[in-house]
Symmetry: C2
Subunit: 243 residues, 2 copies
C-alpha cells in the first residue's frame, strides 16, 4: 500500500525570528566580537528590509539571553552572557520543573568538589589571597547570619573562579541562585559557622598545597554537611526549591 504522502508542516518562520537568527549567528560565529556596537535599529531595518518594529522584536529575543545588552542605555552592544544572565535563565527553568533540593544537591555534589579539585591546579596567588581574605572575614562575621551567608557564597564562587574554567562557572551558575535562600535558612536554623569555617579552611589549605584529593574530599564533606543541615532543619530536602 502506497504511504499517503506526508507533507511536514511547512515551517514559515516569522520575520523577527529570521532576523534574530541572523544576528545571533553573526555573533556566535564570531563575525561580530563581544564588545562591538551593533548598527542602529534603523540601519538594521534597512539592511534586512523590514521595519524597525520587527528589528526591535528580534533584538529583544536575544537580549534576555544575555547576548545583547545596552552600552549606555542607547547603543546596542554585543555582550558575553555572564554567570548572572545564565544563572537567571537556568534557575528559572529549574524552578518551573519543580526541581527538588535533593536533585539540586546531587548536581552540586558533582560540581563543587570538582571545582575544589581543579582549583588546586590553576589558582593564582592573587586568587589564593582572595580566599585567605574571605576566611578572615568568615571568622569575623561568624555570628552574623546574613553576613555569614554572604561570605559562604563568596567562598564557593572564589573557588569556582580559581578553576579558570568558564564552562564550569556557567554550569554551576544556577546553583548559586537557587541554593541561596536554602543556605540562608540552614545558617539561621543551625548557626553552623564553626563547621563552615573548618571546611573552608581545609579546602583553602588543600588548594594552596595543590592537594587535589584533599580539596575534593573536603568540598564533599562540606556539601554533605549542607545536606544534613537542610534535613535537620526540616527544610524539606525532597521539596521543590523555592524561588
Amino acid at each position: 500500500m502506497a504511504q499517503p504522502v506526508n507533507f511536514g508542516p511547512l515551517a514559515h518562520q516569522p520575520a523577527y525570528r529570521l532576523v534574530s537568527e541572523k544576528i545571533r549567528h553573526a555573533i556566535i560565529s564570531g563575525d561580530i566580537e563581544a564588545g562591538e556596537l551593533l548598527p542602529t535599529e534603523t540601519d538594521l531595518a534597512e539592511q534586512f528590509g523590514v521595519t524597525r518594529s520587527t528589528v526591535r522584536e528580534a533584538i529583544r529575543l536575544l537580549e534576555h539571553v544575555g547576548i545583547l545588552g545596552r552600552a549606555d542605555r542607547k547603543r546596542l552592544v554585543v555582550t558575553r552572557p555572564g554567570t548572572e544572565a545564565i544563572g537567571r535563565s537556568v534557575s528559572a527553568a529549574m524552578l518551573m520543573h519543580r526541581v527538588t533540593f535533593e536533585e539540586l544537591w546531587q548536581v552540586a555534589m558533582g560540581l563543587e568538589p570538582l571545582a575544589g579539585k581543579l582549583a588546586c591546579l590553576s589558582a593564582t596567588d592573587a586568587e589564593k589571597q582572595l580566599l585567605a581574605d574571605n576566611l578572615v572575614r568568615t571568622r569575623e562575621v561568624m555570628a552574623d547570619h546574613d553576613a555569614l551567608l554572604e561570605v559562604e557564597i563568596e567562598f564557593h564562587n572564589l573557588v569556582a573562579e580559581a578553576t579558570h574554567n568558564n564552562a564550569l562557572l556557567l554550569a554551576r551558575a544556577p546553583l548559586n541562585e537557587l541554593f541561596y535562600p536554602a543556605w540562608g535558612a540552614v545558617i539561621r536554623a543551625l548557626s553552623p559557622g564553626e563547621r563552615i569555617l573548618v571546611a573552608h579552611q581545609h579546602v583553602y589549605d588543600a588548594i594552596c598545597a595543590g592537594d587535589q584529593e584533599k580539596a575534593e574530599e573536603w568540598m564533599e564533606k562540606h556539601m554533605r554537611d549542607f545536606r544534613r543541615g537542610i534535613e535537620m532543619g526540616n527544610l524539606g530536602f525532597e521539596q521543590p526549591v523555592q524561588g
Copy 2:
C-alpha cells in the same frame, strides 16, 4: 568631612522590561501554570496600559529563554523551558566565552559519571529497556559513523533521563550541543565503535544491577576514552570548541 551625597543613577527601566518582568514573575511564582494560555496581546496591552508593540517586545524577551512559546502558531502558551532551549542559551554563552574542549570535558567528567551513578538508583524497567534497545542498535550501526554518533548521544541522554533528575538534565544540556561535532570528529577519525559499545554495555549492566560504583567507573573510563580520542585525532583539546 561629609561625604558628598552619591546619587546612584536612577534606574528608569523601559516599559517593555517592566511588563516582561511582571509576566515572568507571574509565571515562575506559579500564578500561571505551565501549559496555560496567556491573554491575547491586545488584552495584555489593555491590562498593562501600554500599546501592543510594547507588549510584543516584552513577550519576545521571554520567548527565547523558553518560558513562553506558541501553542498553534497563534495563542501564546506558558511552557517549561526544556533541555533544548536551555542547551541553546548556555552553549551559546560557552561559545562566546571561548570555552575549550578541556574545560568542557572537565565538566562532563563531573556530570556524566554522576548520571551513571544516579541512574542505578532510579532507572525504571522501561528505561532499562530503552537502553537495551539502544545497545542493539549500536551493534548494528557500528560501521556507520553518522548513525553511530546518533546512538552514542542517545545513550548518554537516556542514562541522564533515567536519573529522573531535572536539575542534572538541565545542567548537562549544553554538553550535548557542544560535544556533538567533536564526538562526530572522533568517531570519523578513529572508528571507535567497539570501544564505545563495550563501555556502554558495562554501564548498562551496572545500571541493571544497581551497581553505582561500576556505573560511575565505566562512565569515567568512557569519557577518558573520548578525551584520548580528541587528543589522538589532533582535534585540539586545548582549542575553543566550535559552534
